[in-house]
Symmetry: C2
Subunit: 338 residues, 2 copies
Amino acid sequence: MAKLTEIARQAGVSVSVVSRVLNGDPTVRAREETRQRVLQVAKELNYTANYAGRALRLARSKALALITPNVSSPLFADLLAGATQAAEEADYTVLIGLADTITAGSDTLRRLVGEGRVDGFVLQRHDDLSDQALESLVANDARVVLVTSRTPGRRGSVVLDDVTGAKLATEHLIALGHKRIALIGGVPHSDIARRREHGYALALHEAGLRRRESLVCRLGYTPEAAERAIESLLGTGARPTGVVVANVNGAIGALTALRRAGVDVPSEISVVAYHDEWVAEHTWPALTTVKMPYYQVGLQAVRSLIDQLGGKPAQDLVVREPKPELVLRSSTAPPKTA
Amino acid sequence: MAKLTEIARQAGVSVSVVSRVLNGDPTVRAREETRQRVLQVAKELNYTANYAGRALRLARSKALALITPNVSSPLFADLLAGATQAAEEADYTVLIGLADTITAGSDTLRRLVGEGRVDGFVLQRHDDLSDQALESLVANDARVVLVTSRTPGRRGSVVLDDVTGAKLATEHLIALGHKRIALIGGVPHSDIARRREHGYALALHEAGLRRRESLVCRLGYTPEAAERAIESLLGTGARPTGVVVANVNGAIGALTALRRAGVDVPSEISVVAYHDEWVAEHTWPALTTVKMPYYQVGLQAVRSLIDQLGGKPAQDLVVREPKPELVLRSSTAPPKTA
DNA sequence: TTGAAAGCGCTAACAG
DNA sequence: CTGTTAGCGCTTTCAA
């Protein structure tokens, strides 16, 4: 790879001029002719700045890491796309890290920035990483922004408008005439789960419906957890006629469990899922979902992060646009007895 | 972050000693006492080597990129896990890149290594990137290994044993007594598709069954493509009683299309899919699949790559272990008329 | 308007 | 057994 000295030699100028011209240094004050010559030679030699040299000199890598518990989801793909977009705008590169290794005691994060591999990161916490663990990991580090989840006593996060989304899902069932509506939510101490549950409760409350503790399950977002939730729901005396599942994957599990139990969807029980992804179109019946603006979360998160790295105060953002959107498919219908 | 000079000062030795001790330089020949002191101080100061400094000096980043058209699949997660494992063994880091931007004219790849961000990459080509385009991109670059696909006239690849896998899927239907077996394969010019089709043909041939051109569709691996394939298959005079779909996602689309057409699976048509992933358990009916060793592909690919970077000649590998495995679920049964 | 030179943190060849 | 030092490619201050 061509380097600065090479360009300088061929263009008959010094390296410093080359560097300044190539970086569009505002104080270029180089003769236009010289400038053109430098650019010309750089192009001819197909110059690309050596990353390590620059990083060493600037003490900044211009790279960010996006840490997630799970890459293999279309939802993550959206998040990534948004993050990548924002990174490009600011000439940053985004690396992806698996959160498996991020546990309370781990110093993976500190190492990543300590080594200077990345300047900061966007962290999507694992659902069962406690608030304390999280805080001990990231403290008040300005080089981190949390996504989809946040933690008390710490600024720097971008989350979905979970309450509006969950409320929308619940309202859909209410509008269809359902009165006994169950919630299959996340694990008890997650703030995400709390917000979604709040949206659910809000919708019930506004409709004047009673919220029954026996109708809310808090086992988590996996298909298996939802299967167990359905089993317990079917075991109760007053079966729900509709259920909102706080996650698509859970909803898929719920459908499986209902089918196994011989309960028809939607005629006996309606199911609506939080989050939309392509499989929802291919389940049986096809899932009615609420689509959330994940792309925006990624976008805002890295913008925030870059702002923070630039010294701006950390913020806690809630993405409200585009608004949560109901995607009507076939898993919801009016209750039989309505 | 603590740096070498700092450690040297506190330990009362020179930087070179520190560097050698910390890197486990075989020629350490340092007094055990000195060694311990250095390690001690390094730990106290929580030292981590600055990445840029090292990369600049060594002219190697010790990082690899895994380039893929699609992160959002459990299959990719497996690949990644394998790659990460192998990378760790050799003290490399793996970055993930999206292949969207990798088109014929693009210099993204060249740039990545040109900048010195990565030393090489594992490339999973996009299905509709032609052989020529691919070759023009990677030429005979020793810093690249191709996964799941390969291209004539180029060494350095790791692929699945597609023919055995597809053969296994087909044999399963044959064993159930099916005679008219269709294939929903990949796009025509893909070498992956060719190998899978070959496995299918081989199974038919060994069983003495005739292979009918009207029963093989080559529209690609997406759910939509498979839906169209099913429609055309149902339109033909002699309907198949079993179909092997060369990809899970396609199989999910196939199930949707069959349901829409009112064709019962498996009583009227059996469906078996190539590749296993969690959704297969949750479709209706649950999909019988052939599970392929994706993890191993990732593992071997980065091992190969690291070998190549070390100057060893490029190889073309086929992963045969663990063997393709039939995962029996509910989408296959003997044909009605058997 | 341009050039010389220092120095980012590290490794390794060489000298003691 | 340990220290000195050059230099990787780059940016930037200072001088010309």
